[in-house]
C-alpha cells in the first residue's frame, strides 16, 4: 500500500511541474527583487550597484511619503467602511430577511465579479461634471445643490474612489460575514433571548463576540487587498489630480515603467510586501491579546 502512495517517481511527476513553475515565477523573482533593490537602472540601460541608496532615497522621498500615507488613509477608510457596511448587510440577511435573503444577496453580490476597469469607467461617467453632467450631478441639481466637479479635486476623487470600491465589494464582505453569522447556533441566540437580551444588547454581547473570528479574517483580507489597490485608481483617477490619489502600487508602477528605474521600483515593491506582512501579523497579534482578555 505504502509503495503505491510513496511512489517516488510519481511524486516527482505530480508535484514537479507545479513546484518548477512556483519556484520560477515566485521564489526566484522575489529573491531577484531584493537584489534589484541594491542597483539602479533597467534592462536596456544596464544596472549599477548603489548599495542601500534606494532605501535611503525611499526614506527621504516626499513623493514616496505621499504615496505611503495615501495608501494607509485609503486602506483604513475602505476597510472600516467595507466591514461596517458588510456587517450591517450580513445582519440584515440573517436576522431581518432570514430565509428570503437569497435574492437580495445575489443581487448585491453581482458587482463583485465585474472587472474593475469597467466599473471605474462607469463611475467616472456616473459622477461626470463636463461636458455633460452625470446622474449624480443631475441629482444634486434637482435637489437644489451646486454641481460638483468630483474628479478635479483630491478629496472629490477620493470620495468617488471609496464609494466605487464599496459598491464593488460590499456584496463580497456581506457574504463572507453572512457565512460567519449563520454558523452561530440557534440555541445560543434563543437562550440569550429568553434571558432578555434584545436588539443592541444581543448584538453586542452575543452576536459580535461569536462572529469575531470571521470579522477578523475579513479585516485582514480587506486591509491586505486595499494596500495593494491599483486597478481602480489607475482606471478612475490615474493617480490624480496631481499625485493626490497615488497609492504605493501605482507609484511603483510609474517609477518602474515610466521612469524606468527598476532598482527603486523593486525597493517600493519590497515596502508593499513588508507592509502587507506586518499589517497581517499585527492584526492577528492584537486580536489574540484581546481574546485572552475576554
Amino acid at each position: 500500500m505504502n509503495s503505491v502512495l510513496g511512489n517516488k517517481k510519481a511524486i516527482v511527476v505530480l508535484l514537479g511541474p507545479a513546484l518548477l513553475v512556483f519556484v520560477g515565477v515566485m521564489v526566484i523573482p522575489v529573491v531577484w527583487s531584493f537584489a534589484y533593490s541594491l542597483y539602479t537602472g533597467n534592462v536596456i540601460r544596464g544596472f549599477t550597484f548603489v548599495g542601500f541608496d534606494n532605501f535611503v532615497r525611499l526614506f527621504n522621498d516626499d513623493e514616496a511619503h505621499e504615496a505611503f500615507f495615501f495608501t494607509l488613509k485609503y486602506s483604513v477608510v475602505v476597510t472600516a467602511a467595507q466591514i461596517v457596511l458588510g456587517y450591517a448587510l450580513a445582519l440584515l440577511y440573517v436576522f431581518v430577511l432570514k430565509k428570503s435573503s437569497t435574492f437580495v444577496r445575489t443581487m448585491v453580490f453581482f458587482p463583485v465579479v465585474l472587472p474593475t476597469v469597467a466599473v471605474s469607467l462607469l463611475f467616472s461617467r456616473f459622477f461626470q461634471f463636463a461636458p455633460q453632467e452625470g446622474p449624480i450631478n443631475s441629482l444634486l441639481k434637482f435637489l437644489g445643490a451646486d454641481t460638483i466637479d468630483f474628479m478635479a479635486t483630491g478629496p472629490g476623487s477620493f470620495l468617488v474612489l471609496v464609494l466605487m470600491d464599496l459598491w464593488r465589494s460590499q456584496g463580497f464582505y456581506a457574504v463572507l460575514l453572512y457565512a460567519g453569522l449563520i454558523d452561530i447556533p440557534d440555541e445560543i441566540l434563543d437562550s440569550a433571548r429568553v434571558d432578555g437580551a434584545k436588539g443592541g444588547k444581543l448584538l453586542r454581547h452575543i452576536i459580535l463576540p461569536m462572529s469575531l473570528p470571521v470579522l477578523l479574517s475579513s479585516v485582514v483580507f480587506s486591509f491586505n487587498s486595499s494596500l495593494k489597490v491599483f486597478d481602480s485608481v489607475l482606471a478612475l483617477t490615474r493617480g490624480g489630480p496631481g499625485n493626490d490619489t497615488t497609492p504605493l502600487n501605482l507609484f511603483m508602477y510609474k517609477t518602474s515603467f515610466l521612469y524606468s528605474d527598476y532598482g527603486y521600483g523593486s525597493t517600493i515593491a519590497i515596502l508593499i510586501t513588508v507592509l502587507c506582512l506586518v499589517v497581517t501579523l499585527f492584526i492577528f497579534r492584537s486580536s489574540r491579546r484581546d481574546l485572552t482578555k475576554d
Binding site: 505530480l14 461617467r125 456584496g171
Partner: protein, 299 residues
C-alpha cells in the same frame, strides 16, 4: 407600504389615556425593511441599468441631453463600433486565449500537487506545502520586474506567453492550498482501499482522487477565472503591443482608438464588458451549483 402606521398595532388592553410609550415606532419595522431593501437594490442595480440604457445613445444625444435620460432608439451601432473599431473583439479573443490555458494549467498542476502533498506519503511534504502556501501572501508587484527582465531578454514579450506563465505561477499557491484542503477532507481509507484493488498511482489520482474533489475544482476554477479575467496589473505590465491587449487593458486605453471622444462606443464597451462578465459568472456559477448538488446526492 402605503399606510405603514396601522399595520402593526395591538388594540387589546389599550389604556384610555395614551401613555408615552417607549420606542413607539413611527413606521412599522416591516415597511422600514422594505424601504431599506429597495434603496439597497436601487444603489446596486441603477448604475448597471443606466450604463445599459446609455450605451444605445447617439453622439448627438450624449452632447445635447443630460446623461440620465433614456435613448430615443435602440440599435446595435455603438456595439458594432466598439467591437471592430474599438478592438474589443480582438481584446476578448486575447483574454480567452490567455484565460483558458492558464486556468487549465493552474487546475491540473494544482490538483496534481495537492494530491502529491496531501494524499501521498513521503518525508518533506509538509515543509514544501508550507513554502507554496506562503506564496499566497506574496503580492504580484514584487515579481513583476524580474519576470519582465526575463521575458524581455527571451523575446517572449511579443506573445501571450508571459501572461499565461505569470498567471499560472501566481495563482498556483492558492490553488494548491485549496486542493490540499479538499483532498484532506476525503477519508484516507478510500485511497488505501483503492490501492489494495491494484490501481496504479496515476489511476488513483485521475480516476479516484479527481472525481472526489470535483466540486472543489469547480469552486477553484470560478475563483481563478475571475482573478485572471479581471486582472489589470500583470496584463498591463507584460502587454507591450496593442494587438495583444486583453479586455481590461483595451478598455483602459479605449478612448485612444477614437480621435475625439466618442461616447457611444465607450459606453457600449463598458456595458458589453460588464454584462458579458456577468453572463459568464452566471453560467459558471450555475455549473458550480449543479456540481455541488450532484455531489451531495451521490455522497
Amino acid at each position: 407600504m402605503s399606510n405603514p402606521t396601522i399595520t402593526k398595532t395591538t388594540p387589546t388592553l389599550q389604556p384610555a389615556v395614551p401613555r408615552p410609550r417607549r420606542r413607539a415606532p413611527l413606521v412599522s419595522s416591516r415597511s422600514l425593511t422594505k424601504v431599506l431593501v429597495a434603496a439597497l437594490l436601487i444603489v446596486v442595480l441603477y448604475p448597471l441599468g443606466w450604463i445599459l440604457a446609455a450605451s444605445f445613445k447617439t453622439q448627438d444625444e450624449f452632447l445635447n441631453q443630460p446623461l440620465w435620460t433614456l435613448p430615443a432608439a435602440i440599435g446595435p451601432d455603438n456595439y458594432l463600433s466598439a467591437l471592430t473599431q474599438g478592438n474589443l473583439a480582438t481584446n476578448a479573443v486575447n483574454s480567452l486565449l490567455v484565460t483558458i490555458p492558464s486556468l487549465a494549467l493552474i487546475l491540473l498542476l494544482g490538483a496534481a500537487a495537492g494530491f502529491a502533498l496531501e494524499v501521498m506519503v513521503w518525508r518533506g511534504r509538509n515543509p514544501i506545502l508550507l513554502l507554496i502556501v506562503g506564496g499566497i501572501m506574496v503580492p504580484a508587484q514584487i515579481i513583476l520586474l524580474p519576470l519582465y527582465t526575463v521575458y524581455f531578454k527571451t523575446g517572449l514579450t511579443n506573445s501571450l506567453w508571459p501572461l499565461i506563465i505569470t498567471y499560472v505561477g501566481h495563482g498556483l499557491p492558492l490553488c494548491v492550498f485549496l486542493m490540499a484542503t479538499y483532498f484532506r477532507s476525503i477519508p484516507r481509507e478510500l485511497f488505501e482501499a483503492a490501492t489494495l484493488d491494484g490501481g496504479g498511482i496515476y489511476r488513483l489520482f485521475w480516476s479516484v482522487g479527481l472525481p472526489l474533489v470535483r466540486n472543489g475544482i469547480f469552486t477553484v476554477a470560478l475563483l481563478m477565472f475571475f482573478s485572471i479575467w479581471n486582472d489589470l496589473l500583470i496584463a498591463l505590465t507584460f502587454n507591450t503591443k496593442k494587438e495583444l491587449a486583453t479586455v481590461q487593458v483595451g478598455l483602459l486605453n479605449f478612448s485612444d482608438e477614437y480621435g475625439s471622444l466618442q461616447y457611444g462606443p465607450l459606453f457600449a464597451a463598458i456595458s458589453l464588458t460588464i454584462f458579458g462578465t456577468l453572463a459568464i459568472y452566471m453560467f459558471i456559477n450555475q455549473r458550480v451549483m449543479k456540481g455541488l448538488t450532484a455531489g451531495s446526492v451521490k455522497g
